[in-house]
């Protein structure tokens, strides 16, 4: 059986299961009520896309910086990277958002919710990116650096011509996976009242009392973003295998 047929089969079976479940609870659909607020969904979805794109760029930068800290031979620099990564990865994003927005951002007079949201989300995702990048660099065997030195490359040439081209291929798949997480994690920005996709659904639900009609489009809207990324990640993974 071709793979796409198998996928289709599983999707159809799953959809049938859900349909049966809905039929049994006799859910009274009210799509008309929700349809009136479609503009809100579109706005929210676009905000989520914008947030995610901004956080994608910022978290890559932060992750690169933190990975360099982690790889540093200076104890203090390494410690900064390590404490940042462990602190962020070990605590809930919700808490980071609340502290970031109500305490730190207020203290420094930063009032733009969107900016604060992107910053906190980027710091959160950056910690995971840092570990991915550090792992990618560490995965390049020492003999590659030795060989590079032996032929007379400078440290910068070694990084540019030998280490990065290999490390980049290694980290692309996990980075794509991290981006999927980032997009979904952006839904938490609703707690600091950023009108992104999730908050839009919450509001429509509050207006229409049609919970499922509000949240099902939410799920679909996220899938539209995350499925292509997952596909990209798998495709990249299949291309990494230059080392049999």
């Amino acid at each position: 059986m071709p793979r796409w047929v198998a996928h289709l089969l599983v999707v159809v079976a799953f959809a049938a299961l859900i349909a049966v479940a809905f039929a049994r609870v006799n859910y009274a659909w009210n799509w008309a009520g929700v349809w009136e607020y479609r503009q809100k969904f579109v706005q929210g979805w676009l905000t989520t896309v914008g947030l995610s794109l901004a956080a994608l760029v910022a978290s890559t930068l932060i992750g690169t910086l933190a990975a360099l800290c982690l790889a540093s031979r200076r104890p203090l620099v390494e410690a900064i990277g390590r404490v940042y990564v462990e602190l962020i990865r070990g605590t809930p994003l919700l808490v980071q958002l609340l502290i970031g927005f109500y305490v730190i951002a207020s203290a420094v007079g930063l009032e733009n919710r969107f900016v604060v949201g992107v910053l906190v989300l980027s710091l959160f995702s950056g910690a995971y990116m840092a570990e991915i990048f550090r792992g990618g660099l560490a995965a390049i065997p020492q003999t590659q650096r030795d060989s590079a030195r032996a032929i007379g490359l400078t440290p910068w040439q070694t990084l540019r011509l030998v280490i990065l081209p290999q490390a980049l291929r290694l980290v692309l798949p996990p980075v794509a996976g991290q981006l999927v997480s980032l997009i979904k994690d952006s839904s938490l920005l609703s707690v600091i009242a950023i009108s992104e996709f999730t908050l839009a659904a919450q509001e429509v639900n509050a207006f229409t009392y049609s919970t499922l009609e509000s949240y099902l489009p939410l799920a679909a809207g996220y899938l539209v973003l995350t499925l292509p990324l997952s596909a990209l990640s798998r495709w990249l993974e299949s291309r990494v295998s230059f080392e049999a």
Binding site: T143, Q144, I151, G152, Q166
Partner: protein
């Protein structure tokens, strides 16, 4: 080449790997280092190749002392070639691009000139058919031969081989040793660390037996293999040469 090593000490985290090692060779083409694993052969070779800086001591090739600072050592490394046990090649580049990389980025040749430079050596060592393959598509022996070629095409003063066949099966070992034998015939100077005693005997102008971080014996192949009175050396060959 005429190698002069004096009072060479190499310590890693308090462990002494080379212990006031001294070695003065005649004006020879091929020096082979043999001895037990962990005895210091590879450590010595890495220092000779300009990859590591010793804790103390001095080294001179043909009267020219090896520098200690990294910038000067890099210039030195450009004039020699080193081949390790395995994973010499860059896996993201084809065999050909592996050969071109040092020519273009270290020695400043134009891509066209670099291609010209590698064409004839690729033919001579029957590697032209594999030039466009990635390392993962090459056999272990082919990989090592490309690695040797990469060291060779920059026209180095001498080559350093660090157990170039230790990761290979006997057939591939023979293939790589044959190439090193050809280089000997072509007049290439080299220092070789190996466990292939038969080949060592055949190719060495001088042999040094390294153990416990020192030169335990030094001389011609016959002197080391057949007439060495040093018990440590005698026992070693007694154990491995059946």
């Amino acid at each position: 080449m005429k190698l002069d090593v004096r009072d060479l000490v190499q310590q890693f985290d308090g462990t002494t790997v080379l212990d006031r090692l001294a070695l003065a060779t005649g004006d020879i083409q091929a020096l082979v280092l043999v001895g037990p694993s962990g005895g210091g052969k590879s450590t010595l070779l890495r220092i000779l190749a300009g990859l590591d800086v010793p804790t103390a001591g001095s080294i001179a090739f043909d009267g020219q002392p090896l520098p200690r600072d990294e910038a000067a050592l890099r210039d030195y490394r450009k004039t020699v070639g080193t081949v390790f046990q395995a994973y010499n090649l860059f896996p993201h580049l084809s065999a050909l691009d592996n050969l071109l990389l040092p020519l273009i980025h270290v020695h400043g040749l134009s891509p066209a000139a670099a291609r010209d430079r590698v064409r004839e050596p690729l033919e001579r060592f029957q590697l032209a058919a594999h030039a466009h393959k990635r390392p993962a598509e090459l056999s272990g022996g082919q990989k090592q031969r490309i690695a040797i070629l990469r060291a060779l095409v920059v026209r180095p003063r001498r080559l350093f081989f660090d157990e170039p066949t230790s990761a290979l099966d006997p057939e591939m070992t023979a293939e790589v040793l044959e190439m090193i034998g050809e280089l000997k015939a072509l007049g290439t100077q080299f220092v070789l660390v190996t466990h292939e005693m038969g080949f060592a005997r055949r190719v060495a102008d001088e042999l040094a037996f390294i153990g416990d971080g020192r030169v335990l014996a030094h001389g011609s192949a016959e002197e080391i293999f057949d007439r060495c009175a040093v018990p440590r050396v005698h026992d070693f060959f007694g154990r491995i040469l059946v």
